[in-house]
Structures are given as structure tokens and as C-alpha cells.
């Protein structure tokens, strides 16, 4: 008996241990939400730092914002609460007061305070982010109340929108990196007056900020400090495992125990995960039609479509002959068969662009009246119209090839980026169409996107692909054309124009400063675009209408297709996805989860 008891005890403990071991593992597996991060894969060894472009931090999971946008086309200030429980916008949008969630805590138990928000904005200054939305000052009113004001004299209408979307970091981690006098440096760097001493001080402070910015980017916290619903438990080159953060202010709404982010190096891996039914959610991923069909055949996989305000365009460098001639741009718009281009290049996540007016079709239909839409030239595929335009401009066709008015043969190269398969395929189709029309054209691929952006600004490409219509707000939409790429910069709160001849300021579009409306009246697109940044939606409407009509007439870029935000969910393991809530759906899934959506089956 004496021997039996210990044996029985050991046996019962074994059963108990097996039971304890099996049960949580099983339930954890059932409650493991598997996805991928839309920004990047997993980089083993990269810092858990939201300012590092390869960093292992996951927005809405272990990195929080003050709020989450609703992607509203009509109200850019419409937000879901994040770390901010409520807010007040005053002084015509120039001042914003935010009250933090009273129970918000970091995963080490310390409360999230107004000081953390202030440190986050300082870190934003070191990255150039806070300057971009004209943040002037941050005032801590109480541990849970912060007030933000715009740079004096500014009236940026996306101030609140940008402010709410900054990553919030813990002050106790980042303050030592930035130094005690960070705000003195920031204040000095913002001087825009003419006092030479203060100007010199500002230049010095800007250099200091840049250097601090590098330290901020490189900073690697020892453990993940999260104010979000999850925190990183471990990470390897294949995946990152995040577990529920018990200190999260709305932990009772989180129904998922852990989240796995899979690594990927290309779309093809994401397709394979989806075909294997392994992802509970996958963000927008370009793919061919057959792959889409295979994904949708998998049990539980569903396609979820929500609006997207992004277009892909073929842009002209008007400073390079002959693309400064409107007839050339019009003719090429008639040569390119956009239906074919979209069918080949972006069959699943794109729709053919109807109006080349600088906006996606959905935005055009919202801003313009039906009569104005009728005024837009659809530039349909029409080779005889293209021939007419070119002949009128002095071009001649000799032995099937077009000769330019200067007597030289017309040849072209269309530039795209390595890995951007949709752009590459579109460039090839357009090259074929242009060559068949008599303009020998070839596509060329630039090895990286950073090199592409650098070279496009240096006027190396006459024809190149470009993301345009970056909405839903009107200002960023038109700024993609008539912003710094066209020489229009905002310096010290003033609009400054750098001409094409200035090779250091990145004006590569080189639109004329005055472009015509269909009725022949001239408008300044750079000034109109700049005006958009300080107006209400109602005030913006006539300007947006002018810009759309003038853009369609001038055609600085041909919008080829509008992207559609196609995401995938799998309902085998989880249910209650926000499929009918577009605003929620456009946010990363951490926002869905913290809002009470997504429950294990």
C-alpha cells in the first residue's frame, strides 16, 4: 500500500498534468488568431520599435494610437477611440484637447499618461512626422489630459486626423534616448523668421533633431512594452507570437488569447498561407485570378471588399521632350487600352479607371456634379483619335514609326520597380500597345523603390508609374500631383514654388503653373491644392471641381486603375468579423479585436 499510494499519486498527478497541459494548449490553439502584418514580414533581431521601418512592432496589437480612422470620405475627423477616450476640437481645428483612457496602462503596469503622449509627439518631430501636420505645441494639462495646438498662423484641416494616428510610445523608455532638452531643440528648430542668429540656431537644432531621430529609430527596448491588447511573447524568423495583454484598458473585450504573425518575403507566400487556410485574416494582397479562385475554394475563406482611395497611374515628366506637349499626353491616353491593362495587371484588386482627373472614380462621383462628370474626357481607347492629336501637333508617321516634330524618331521607356508585379505587367502591356502604334517602347525595372523615388526626382524617367489619388481627403489626393513632385512645397507655413530647373527640390512633374479648365480659363493647380489644406469640405468642393476638370484637361498622369481593398478572412476558427462595417474594416485587425469583434468559435 505504501508503494501504491505514491504511485497512484504520481499517476494522478500525471493525468492532472497531462490534463492541465493539454487543455490550455488546445484552447490556446483554438484561440490563436493567425495573420500577417501588411507593412512587412518578421525581421529577426530588428528592434521592437514602431519608428524602425523593419521593426517588430504591430500597429493596433502592441502599438496604439490615440484613435483609429473610419476612412470617411466626408469627415476626416471621424475616429474610433484609441488611447484617447474623448477629444475636443476647437479654434477652427487649430487646437485639440484629448482625454486619455483612465485605465490605460503599459504592459509593465505603469499608467499611460499625458507625458507619454508628449514624448510620442517629440519622437514624431525627430522623424519629421509632427512637422508634417504643423504641430506647434503640446501642453500637459493633467496626467490624462493633453492639449495640442497648430503652428501659429496655420490652419491645416488634417491636423486632428494626423495627430490621432501617431504611434504612442512610453516616455520612460524613449525620453532618455531623446534627452532632457528635446523640446528646446524642437522649439529652436521651428523658427522661420529672419533673425540670422535664430536662423543659425534653427539649422543647428534641425541637424540635432535628425541625429536624435537616428537614435530613436535604432533604439531596441529589451522587452516589448505595449499599451495595446497584445504584447510580443517571442519571435523567430518564421513568426511572432503575441499574447493577450492583461493590463490593456479594455481587456474584457478581447476574446483571443494569442496572435501569430507569419513571416513572408513576397505575395506568393501569403497566397500559400491562404490556400492552406492558415490565415484568419490577410490584408490587401495583389494576386492573379486563378489564385483568388483557389483561395476562395478553401473552407472558411471569404473575400471582404471595402472602398480604397488609391489609384495607379502612368505619370509624365513634362520637362522631357515631347511629354510637355498636351497633345502627346492626350494621344497616349487614347493609345493605352486601360481595360486590357487592368485585366492583365490587376484583375483581382483593381477596377478600370473611368476618369483621369487625379481622383479615384468613387471620389469623382462624390465631388463632381453629373454635368461636370460629363465634361470630363474619358480618353477611351481610340487610335485614330491619337493619330489626329499627334498629327495636329506636328508628328509624322514614317514607315510605321512616329517621328517627333524635331525630326527625331520617338522611342520611350516606361519605368517600374522590381517586385511590383502589377506595375511591371502593366508597363509591358502599355509598351506593346505603344510599340504597335509606332512608338518603340520598352519597360525597365528599377531595383528598389527607394532608388526609384530618388531617380524620378532627378528627372531620369520620362514615363513612370506612380501611386496617385491617395485619399479619401482632397488635399493629399491632389498633393500627389501638385505637391512637392510638381515643385509646390510648404515652407514655414507658406507655399513656395521650386521650378523644374532647380534640380535639388524634386520637381519632376513640371506642370505649367497655369493650366486650363475645359472652358479655357486658367487656374494655378499648386495654389488650389494648397488652399485645400485649410478649408472645410463644403469650401473645398468648388476647388476640387476645378482641380479635377483642369487635371483631366492637362493630364499630367493617366490613371490606369483604382485599387480595391480586398481582404480575406477565415471563419473556420473565428466568427463575428466586422464585414459590414467599412470604417472598422479599413483598420488593422487589432482594432476589430479591441472593439469586441472576432470571437473564437
Amino acid at each position: 500500500m505504501k508503494k501504491v499510494l505514491p504511485l497512484a499519486l504520481i499517476a494522478s498527478l500525471g493525468v492532472l498534468a497531462a490534463g492541465c497541459g493539454a487543455s490550455p494548449t488546445h484552447s490556446a490553439a483554438a484561440q490563436t488568431f493567425t495573420t500577417i502584418d501588411e507593412a512587412h514580414g518578421i525581421t529577426d533581431g530588428a528592434p521592437m520599435n514602431p519608428f524602425n521601418t523593419n521593426g517588430n512592432s504591430f500597429m493596433s496589437f502592441d502599438v496604439m494610437q490615440l484613435g483609429w480612422f473610419t476612412n470617411s470620405a466626408t469627415n476626416p475627423n471621424d475616429f474610433y477611440p484609441g488611447l484617447a477616450k474623448k477629444w475636443q476640437i476647437s479654434d477652427g481645428g487649430r487646437t485639440v484637447t484629448v482625454w486619455l483612457q483612465p485605465n490605460a496602462k503599459w504592459s509593465n503596469g505603469q499608467p499611460v499618461t499625458a507625458q507619454d503622449v508628449k514624448a510620442s509627439m517629440a519622437a514624431g518631430f525627430t522623424q519629421g512626422n509632427s512637422q508634417a501636420f504643423y504641430l506647434g505645441s503640446v501642453k500637459v494639462i493633467s496626467p490624462t489630459e493633453v492639449q495640442f495646438t497648430q503652428v501659429p498662423g496655420q490652419n491645416y484641416n488634417l491636423f486632428f486626423n494626423s495627430l490621432m494616428q501617431q504611434p504612442i510610445i512610453p516616455a520612460f523608455e524613449y525620453d532618455p534616448i531623446m534627452g532632457k532638452n528635446i523640446w528646446t531643440i524642437i522649439d529652436e528648430s521651428m523658427y522661420t523668421g529672419s533673425n540670422p542668429t535664430l536662423k543659425a540656431l534653427a539649422t543647428k537644432a534641425q541637424t540635432e533633431l535628425t541625429n536624435i531621430g537616428k537614435s530613436v529609430v535604432d533604439y531596441a527596448p529589451k522587452t516589448d512594452i505595449s499599451a495595446g491588447p497584445f504584447l510580443i511573447k517571442n519571435l523567430n524568423p518564421g513568426e511572432a507570437l503575441l499574447v493577450k495583454n492583461p493590463d490593456f484598458y479594455a481587456a474584457n473585450k478581447i476574446h483571443i488569447k494569442q496572435v501569430v504573425f507569419r513571416n513572408y518575403t513576397g505575395n506568393q507566400q501569403i497566397w500559400n498561407y491562404l490556400i492552406a487556410g492558415q490565415l484568419d485574416m490577410a490584408p490587401f494582397t495583389a494576386m492573379p485570378t486563378d489564385i483568388l479562385h483557389r483561395i476562395l475554394q478553401v473552407k472558411g475563406n471569404q473575400e471582404v471588399v471595402s472602398p480604397s482611395y488609391v489609384g495607379a497611374a502612368l505619370a509624365f515628366n513634362q520637362g522631357i521632350y515631347p511629354y510637355g506637349m498636351p497633345a502627346v499626353r492626350h494621344a497616349l491616353a487614347h493609345v493605352i487600352n486601360r481595360d486590357v491593362v487592368q485585366k492583365v495587371a490587376e484583375p483581382v484588386v483593381g477596377t478600370v479607371s473611368k476618369y483621369s482627373d487625379g481622383m479615384v472614380d468613387q471620389a469623382t462621383e462624390k465631388w463632381l456634379t453629373p454635368a461636370q462628370i460629363k465634361e470630363l474626357n474619358p480618353y477611351s481607347y481610340n487610335l485614330s483619335e491619337a493619330t489626329k492629336e499627334l498629327e495636329k501637333a506636328g508628328f509624322k508617321k514614317v514607315n510605321g514609326k512616329w517621328m517627333m516634330p524635331n525630326g527625331k524618331p520617338w522611342t520611350a521607356t516606361i519605368y517600374t520597380v522590381n517586385g511590383f508585379s502589377d506595375w511591371i505587367e502593366a508597363a509591358k502591356v502599355i509598351s506593346t500597345e505603344m510599340t504597335q502604334f509606332g512608338i518603340p517602347t520598352s519597360p525597365d525595372i528599377v531595383s528598389s523603390y527607394s532608388e526609384y523615388l530618388k531617380d524620378i526626382a532627378l528627372d531620369k524617367y520620362a514615363l513612370a508609374f506612380w501611386i496617385n489619388a491617395l485619399g479619401p481627403e482632397a488635399y493629399p489626393t491632389f498633393q500627389r500631383i501638385y505637391g512637392p513632385n510638381d515643385g509646390y512645397n510648404v515652407v514655414g507655413g507658406q507655399l513656395v514654388y521650386y521650378p523644374y530647373s532647380n534640380k535639388t527640390e524634386g520637381n519632376w512633374v513640371d506642370s505649367p503653373q497655369e493650366i486650363p479648365l475645359p472652358n479655357g480659363k486658367m487656374v494655378n493647380p499648386g495654389q488650389l491644392t494648397y488652399d485645400l489644406n485649410s478649408l472645410t469640405a463644403a469650401q473645398q468642393r468648388p476647388i476640387v471641381q476645378k482641380l479635377a476638370l483642369a487635371t483631366n484637361e492637362s493630364l499630367p498622369m493617366i490613371t490606369l486603375w483604382n485599387y480595391i481593398n480586398v481582404q480575406f478572412i477565415n471563419t473556420t476558427r473565428f466568427t463575428d468579423f466586422p464585414v459590414h462595417n467599412n470604417g472598422m474594416l479599413d483598420n488593422p485587425p487589432g482594432v476589430w479585436i479591441m472593439s469586441g469583434y472576432v470571437q473564437p468559435k
Partner: protein, 304 residues
Amino acid sequence: MSLAVSTSSSSRPSNGPSGHPSFLKNAWRIIVKKPGRLIGLGIIVLFALMAIFGPYLYPKQLPINPNAIYAPISWRYPLGTDFEGTSNLALIITGARYVLFAAAMAAVFTVVFGTALGLISGYYLGWTDSVIMRITDFILTIPGFPLLVVLSTVWNFGQPVAMGFVLGITGWGGLARAVRSQTLSLRERGFIEAARTLGLSPFHILFREILPNVGSYIAMNLLLAVTGSIYAEVGLFFLGVVPFQVNNWGVMLNLAVFSAGAMSSAQALPYLLSPLLALLILTLGVVLFLDAVDEIFNPRLKEA
């Protein structure tokens, strides 16, 4: 002395005014001896013809067909179609020129550099040998393919000669070492001793006495360098780091895998398999033909 001279002349393949016809006749006799060799030659000739005449069989701009994207194999499209509905067969045939010409150039560069430096190094010894071998060691220690990837980001490989040159200058190290070893062995042989005693010039000794004796090895290396270069070149294109031409076999592989999803979708499989098949058949042809090359250039096997 006379024995040494006669050894030398018998070691060389016959040449001179009447040498070529007998060489070709002899080569043909060796090739037809085994059907495998004939098949190998046939494949090589077929690909050479594709490279020379292929582009003339099709319009310069291959037609696209948006209604036949990734079309299956049919009479109209014997190897299916690509992402824009262009026939894969047309892409393979028109793409053969760049791929093969670049590979041939690479092989020539490899053989010329490797042989010349190996012969000089092995014959002269002393500081010449030391310098050449240290450079060879340096070339051998450089990881060739990553270097090519880096070079391709700064150098435009639009012209096959440029591509061939770069593949050649990074690939001659192994051959140079092997030729040097053979030269070291041959330079001690009686017929070389005799040639030196006769006062023949080092150029004559190197290229008329020693070279023919390593000819078999070099010829085999030439063909192996062709296949090696094709792999390296296609590999570079597969990584997408060199100019974009849809009819390049490497670009086809890249687009099939990364854009068409050929690893996950049966629809795009013909697009992936077309360039793979071309590479497989070409390599098979070279391997089968190597057997004949060995016998043609190896004096001992020839005499047997």
C-alpha cells in the same frame, strides 16, 4: 632529340592546310559512334538555330491576347501562354538568342582568361606564377553569384556581351588553376624540354606544344561553362535584378513564380515549365555531346 620532337608532333591534333577536313571527318566519325552523342549535337544545333533564326520567325513585338491569359497547352499555344496571353513557345524561341549568346560569350571569356593565365602561370613559374595565382585565389574566394547580384544593380546588362563578360571574369579561376596544374606536369615532359633546347619561342611552346595537350580539358570546360553561365544568367534574371525582357527565360521563371503563382496554381504551370524544359533539354544536349568532345580532343582516346 628526334624522339622528343616526334612525341611533340604526335601529341598534337593534326592541323595545317589539310588538317581541318580530316579533323572534321574524324570528329563526325566519333560523334556518330554513339546515338547519344548525335542526339546531343542535334539539340545543340537546334538551340543554335533558334538563337540565330528564332527572332526572325516572329514579329518583333510578340502579339498579346488579354483573352488568353495563362491559356492551357493547345495547338495554337503548344506551350501555353504568359501573363498577357503571349505564346510561351514564341517567348522561348525568341529569347534563346540573348540567353545563348550571353552564355557563349561568358564561356569564351572564361576559357580565354582561364587558359591563357593557367598556361603562363604554369610555364613561367616564379613571381609570374605567384602573382597570377594570388589573383586566381582572390577570384576563387569571391562568392561569384552574390557579386553578380551586386554588379547587376550598378551595371546595365541590356547587351548580352556585357552579361557574358561579367559572367566570364568571375568564372575563370577554377579553369586557370586546372590548366596551370596540367602545364606544370607537361613542362617537365621530354618534348617540351626538346622544344626549349631547339630554341623555340615561349609563345610557340605554350600555344603550339602545351595547349593542344590540354585541349580536351579546355573544350569540355567550354561546354560546361556554357551551361554554368546559362544557370548563372537565368538565376540573375530569376531574382529580377537585371533588365526586363519578357522573353528571357529567367524573367519567365520569375514572373511565373512571383506574379502568376505557378507554385500554387496549375493554370500558370505551363508558364513555369516552358523555360525549365528549355534549360533541361539544352543541358541534356551539352552533357550528351561532352562525351564526344572528350574523344575528339583527347589524343590518347583518339589513338585508341
